[in-house]
């Protein structure tokens, strides 16, 4: 059952944050850092709306999606961009909900973290637009509108890094912008080609329009789209913008860039390519998804290795994000309901865990004015809440039970192993190379445990250093968001059904739609 969005729920979740950015700009001059509360309330409203949809998906088995369609641009002759369509279903709702939740709690975190910064009204205005851009990218199902939102999340984040960042912030922001923009242009090429060949911009109509089109053409379009998405996801070797951007961004923004934004690339891969190009997903010559699996394996191992070598705590987390995106891509490339479900769960788990970790790094930076792990140590007894949150964050990344990360990795690897051994319908045969790749990926995930526990040990165990001698726990307003997210990761870890129920239903239908009806 697909419901019409008569009460404008979906439109509100995007437009209200965007509209309030103007309010923030005007009122923020007087409110200063307290503008954060405005942003908090606005985004909390969005979270509640999406939380309602998610709850409905969980509780009502017959409910499938909430859809909205609006006319936006007039047709030019025979050329039409189609309607502006929004859709909250089992796939997009959890992703969008995590984004709004992160944006909500991080706006509180920003209040304290950014207190001594200048022109905070602009910070929060950009913050709200950035949030609206991310939510819009996830909810929208028109490719042209998708591109608009894709750019809308780039520009504010570029400004946020360039103005409030640290170090060589202008240079880093420029690098970030150029990389993502280059990717976005490739994405645009793919979208335009899709529009002309399939004669539609609606994601759900592409597959019909692509029927009868040669596999080579479809592959070329998909590669163009994927280039754009892979830059966003920071898949090896397109990842070099990410460590710079995440390290130099103001920490609240790092805590959004990494957990919320880059994963949208993976989400879009499921949304666009799985839905629109079934022939490419199940292609046998070349085995496109197997190549992606291999790429994912390299990304996750390479990211893990790089994280192991870092001394800068934010760069370490940044490389860890690259590694986690490898996991996500691995799940997506498994061509199985289980693996794709795992990828969605990984988005959720990585979102929560990495936001916790980046916020923890922010607490450390705020207290000790350093990002170097060498200068920290012995903090466990002095900052117990921070220590527990950090441990939980890293345990989440390494797939520890009791935390949602366990289910994510369990499903990702099961999915890939299942396809390797049983194949997918009659389209994909069991494959020995895939068995090998999956085995390597499982064994390779020891790296996550390695860099995680090593970091915990270097920061929280041992003797205090000069800097940490007189350390005390961070302020409550910074710890509260961390604890909320950590608790959420724990709740979802014990009962993942809250997210997985709706997602699995949608994904299993999506996967069965890959099989052509003869």
């Amino acid at each position: 059952m697909i419901l019409e969005d008569n009460s404008f729920i979906l439109l509100q979740t995007i437009l209200i944050p965007a509209a309030f950015s103007v309010v923030a700009l005007v009122a923020g001059k007087r409110l200063k850092e307290k503008t954060g509360w405005v942003s908090f309330i606005v985004l909390l409203y969005s979270s509640i709306l999406l939380g309602y949809v998610q709850l409905k998906l969980f509780l009502e088995p017959s409910f499938e999606a909430l859809e909205a369609s609006y006319t936006w641009l007039p047709d030019i002759g025979a050329f039409s961009l189609g309607n502006f369509t929004l859709r909250a279903d089992g796939l997009s709702t959890p992703v969008a909900l995590i984004i709004t939740i992160l944006c909500t709690v991080i706006s509180i975190y920003s209040i304290k973290y950014m207190e001594h910064e200048h022109s905070l009204e602009r910070y929060f205005a950009l913050y709200l637009i950035y949030a609206a851009g991310m939510i819009g990218t996830v909810l929208v199902t028109n490719l042209a509108a998708f591109f608009v939102f894709f750019e809308l999340m780039l520009i504010p984040s570029w400004a946020l890094i360039g103005v409030w960042g640290t170090g060589l912030k202008e240079r880093v922001a420029f690098k970030y912008f150029m990389f993502t923009e280059a990717g976005a242009l490739s994405l645009l090429a793919g979208i335009v080609a899709t529009g002309f060949i399939a004669n539609t911009f609606n994601i759900f109509e592409i597959s019909q329009g692509m029927e009868g089109i040669a596999l080579g053409t479809q592959l070329a379009i998909v590669v163009a789209i994927l280039l754009g998405l892979f830059v966003k996801m920071a898949i090896f070797p397109l990842h070099t913008w990410l460590p710079d951007a995440h390290a130099e961004a103001p920490t609240p923004i790092s805590a959004l860039l990494s957990p919320a934004m880059i994963g949208i690339g993976g989400y879009a891969l499921i949304r666009i390519v799985y839905t629109g190009f079934p022939a490419v997903i199940t292609a046998q010559t070349p085995q496109f998804m197997l190549i992606l699996s291999f790429l994912a394996l390299i990304t996750m191992v390479y990211g893990g290795y790089m994280a192991l070598a870092q001394d800068d705590i934010k760069r370490l987390l940044a490389y860890s994000s690259i590694s986690q995106m490898g996991y996500m891509l691995f799940g997506i490339a498994s061509v199985s309901t289980i693996g794709v479900l795992g990828a969605v769960l990984l988005y959720v788990s990585h979102g929560l865990a990495k936001a916790v970790l980046f916020m923890v790094s922010g607490v450390l930076i705020h207290e000790f004015k350093t990002r170097s792990i060498k200068e920290l140590g012995g903090l466990g007894p002095k900052m117990p809440y921070t220590a527990v949150a950090t441990l939980m964050g890293f345990l989440g990344l390494m797939g520890f039970p009791f935390i949602i990360g366990f289910w994510a990795e369990l499903y990702i690897f099961t999915g890939s192993m299942y396809t390797a051994l049983q194949g997918f319908s009659y389209l994909i045969e069991p494959n020995t190379i895939r068995i090998l790749i999956t085995s390597l990926a499982i064994i390779g995930s020891i790296l996550t445990a390695g860099y995680g526990l090593w970091t915990v040990r270097r920061v929280f165990y041992g003797q205090p250093t000069e800097k940490t001698m007189y350390a005390k726990e961070g302020s409550a307003i910074m710890l509260a968001p961390i604890i909320v997210l950590a608790a959420l990761a724990l709740i979802l870890g014990i009962y993942p059904g809250l997210v997985a129920t709706g997602a699995s239903k949608y994904i299993s239908e999506l996967l069965s739609s890959l099989i052509p009806i003869l």
């Binding site: 309901t337 466990g380 390494m398 366990f406 369990l410 099961t414 526990l453 165990y461 041992g462 239908e509």
Partner: protein
């Protein structure tokens, strides 16, 4: 097989509560700490007492095995449209194995929690201590009670986390604490936090291997419920069963890591840097048994599988050989260790090897019940006596404030109760006949190797008996007998006197020593001793699932033909184990009790002995090997790759492209001079180019 239906009712309630109580108790620790530290301490012990009560309520079921297995499942995860793992239930499984395990765990935990009241008194971080101890007990019982592998994994990783957190409990890693709280001697001396991490990562490697095996299994069978797998494994298509052989062996990686078997054994000796209570509970009596338990849990599944697909039997050979090699290697390492807890840790590894080998040989023969029972029986008796040994060692460490054997000696008079408890339990470890549980369980293991027709394994296992006796006697002699060490003299000069442990500490280990005696005496009766009764129980229970007459595995039949007749096997076992006992004890007695030859001079006098001693002292270089081949290279590769691939490779390339564009633009910019003459020339050239192009296009 009889149809089995899930039973839901009040009688299964203890099976849930026995792990829920400690988990809830863990959450209560920080809350109770706000009221009063004493309330917190006794509250924590109270929750473990509740768990003990609940586990004990399951015991009557052991006498009605026709009612077993009982299981109760609650819906947990129910996802539509997944080919596998779409339904995961939260369930408990009550069968002889889980009842015995839960009781061993709950009983020993309770005693160790009481002991902790004395041992950990005055520690500033007791809230953390009680939290993780109770969380551990809950996770451990959850591990053994759960009905499917997913829930088992929750307990499995939960105990791993507690182990990590409690090994590194004394997080300060201060050099001041070297004598008491570190582990090892240079060049292999490690602070607690290092050891915690080492333990977690090493076992994690095993867990990933387990996960790999489990995923292959689930992709084929579609279930991870133990009961479900038992049914499923008989109906699998024959042509795809080959993959279950590597899957089962990968699966065994988990037990290898958790139970510290070769090659992942080196974390356990280093785990001794935790508080002694932790070593006793987690790294001797309970958690390290989880691997043995899991093998026991999947034993019927693989065994039934091998009746359908004979190659599956190689799984059992792998287990048996890894077990016996571990028993031998770890035993020899214990002979050369200078720390009391490390001797016990190596000994634990060695004894775990015995249990593994018993389960392994059991799978290769039709008489599976003997080996299976021997493994479980040894697990029980080892848990009791090794926990007691650790607790007595803790009392000694408390008294002399050092972990080194050469800081002890001559304190028998001062600590008589501790001395006797340690000696009695060490006799059990050595397998001193008749009165001690270790004798019965170890002999059962040796006998089962003979009955399975594995003479090589038997010989190695028997030699290990001599080794066990050697290091046990050496440890007791160095701890309690002989002259007082310089350190004790110094302490006495400073007014500190070594004295007996307080009641709250010695009563728990005295109880454990009594239990090991009770097990030993209870096994004497030839027809209804504990060992025999266990064997009947397991035989009766397992034969519900394993139909012997359908067992067509050619490998196991040939193995059975090579086996000895039972009377001969029993005789050989007793003779050889007694001989080995006497040999090992006699050598150690001469060297360390009588001191007819000074062992240090003896080692120093011969270069062959010296290098052998170094080889054992450096742990066969296994530990050094892992650091040299895996740990350090991984870190240096990552640093190298960061510098050469990431920074001056991929990222450099980006900047090269950017610079190339920039320099091209800046050169091209020079042509934009604004001088009219140049512009006119440019225009003319442009026109000419256009004309040529048009010309070419027209002609072509």
């Amino acid at each position: 097989m009889e149809p089995i239906t899930p039973i839901i009712g009040i009688e299964t309630l203890p099976a849930w509560l026995c792990w829920l109580f400690p988990l809830v108790g863990a959450l209560f620790s920080p809350i109770l700490a706000k009221i009063h530290p004493k309330v917190r301490d006794y509250g924590a012990v109270f929750f473990s007492f509740l768990s003990f009560l609940m586990a004990a309520m399951l015991i009557p079921l052991l006498f009605n095995i026709e009612l077993l297995p009982k299981w109760e499942i609650l819906p947990w995860i129910d996802l539509e449209g997944l080919p596998v793992l779409s339904k995961i239930e939260m369930g408990v499984l009550i069968d002889p194995l889980s009842i015995i395990m839960a009781n061993v765990i709950a009983f020993i935990s309770l005693l160790i929690m009481i002991y902790s009241l004395g041992y950990m008194k005055g520690d500033p971080s007791l809230t953390r201590y009680w939290f993780f101890m109770n969380f551990f007990i809950g996770s451990m019982i959850l591990l053994v009670m759960s009905e499917n592998l997913i829930l088992t994994l929750f307990g499995w990783e939960g105990v791993g986390l507690c182990s990590y957190a409690l090994i590194g409990f004394w997080y300060k890693d201060s050099k001041k604490d070297y004598i008491e709280r570190w582990v090892g001697e240079p060049p292999e001396a490690y602070p607690p936090s290092h050891c915690g991490m080492k333990a977690f990562i090493t076992t994690r490697i095993g867990d990933l291997s387990l996960l790999l095996g489990a995923l292959i299994i689930v992709a084929f069978t579609g279930t991870l419920s133990y009961i479900g797998l038992l049914e499923e494994v008989q109906h699998l298509p024959h042509e795809s069963m080959w993959i279950l052989v590597p899957a089962a062996i990968f699966f065994f990686g988990g037990p290898i890591g958790k139970s510290a078997q070769l090659p992942l054994m080196e974390w356990l000796p280093d785990a001794m840097s935790g508080p002694t209570t932790v070593s006793a509970l987690i790294h001797a009596a309970t958690m390290v048994n989880a691997g043995v338990y899991l093998v026991g849990r999947i034993f019927p599944i693989i065994y039934v599988g091998s009746t359908v697909y004979p190659e599956m039997i190689s799984f059992f050979y792998v287990i048996a050989w890894i077990g016996v090699l571990t028993a031998f290697v770890a035993g020899t390492q214990a002979m050369a260790s200078n720390e009391i807890k490390k001797v016990l840790a190596y000994s634990t590894v060695s004894q775990l090897g015995y249990m593994m080998l018993a389960l392994g040989v059991a799978g290769t023969t039709l008489e599976f019940a003997l080996g299976y029972t021997a493994g479980v029986f040894h697990l029980m008796s080892h848990a009791v006596f090794k926990a007691a040994l650790f607790l007595t060692a803790g009392a000694v460490i408390h008294a002399v404030e050092s972990r080194f054997l050469h800081h002890m000696g001559g304190i028998r008079k001062e600590m008589p109760i501790t001395f006797w408890c340690m000696s009695l339990t060490a006799f059990s470890l050595m397998g001193v006949p008749i009165l001690f549980s270790g004798f019965w369980s170890k002999d059962m293991i040796l006998e089962s190797t003979l009955l399975a027709g594995q003479p090589l394994i038997f010989i190695l296992a028997a030699v290990t008996v001599a080794i066990t006796c050697f290091y046990s006697v050496r440890m007791i002699a160095l701890t309690f007998l002989g002259k007082k060490s310089d350190r004790i003299h110094e302490m006495e000069d400073g007014g500190h006197h070594v004295h007996e442990a307080p009641k709250v500490m010695w009563i728990p280990y005295a109880i454990l020593a009594a239990v090991t005696l009770a097990f030993g005496i209870g096994s004497i009766f030839p027809y209804n001793g504990i060992g025999i009764w266990l064997e009947h129980t397991f035989e009766g229970y397992l034969s519900k699932f394993i139909e012997i007459e359908h067992h067509l595995s050619p490998v196991s039949i040939s193995a059975t033909e090579a086996a000895l007749p039972q009377e001969l096997a029993v005789l050989m076992t007793i003779v050889s184990s007694l001989t080995m006992l006497l040999v090992g004890t006699w050598i150690a007695y001469r060297l360390y009790v009588k001191r007819t030859v000074d062992p240090e001079k003896l080692v120093g006098s011969r270069s062959a002995l010296k290098s052998m001693w170094t080889f054992l002292f450096r742990r066969w270089y296994i530990n050094a090997f892992f650091y040299k081949v895996f740990i350090y290279p991984t870190i240096s590769i990552s640093r190298w790759a960061l510098k050469h691939i990431e920074e001056s490779g991929i990222d450099k390339f980006n900047y090269v492209v950017a610079d190339a564009v920039k320099s091209f633009c800046s050169r091209f910019r020079r042509t934009h001079t604004g001088v009219l003459n140049y512009n006119v020339i440019g225009m003319i050239l442009g026109f000419i180019l256009l004309i040529i192009l048009m010309f070419v296009a027209l002609v072509w």
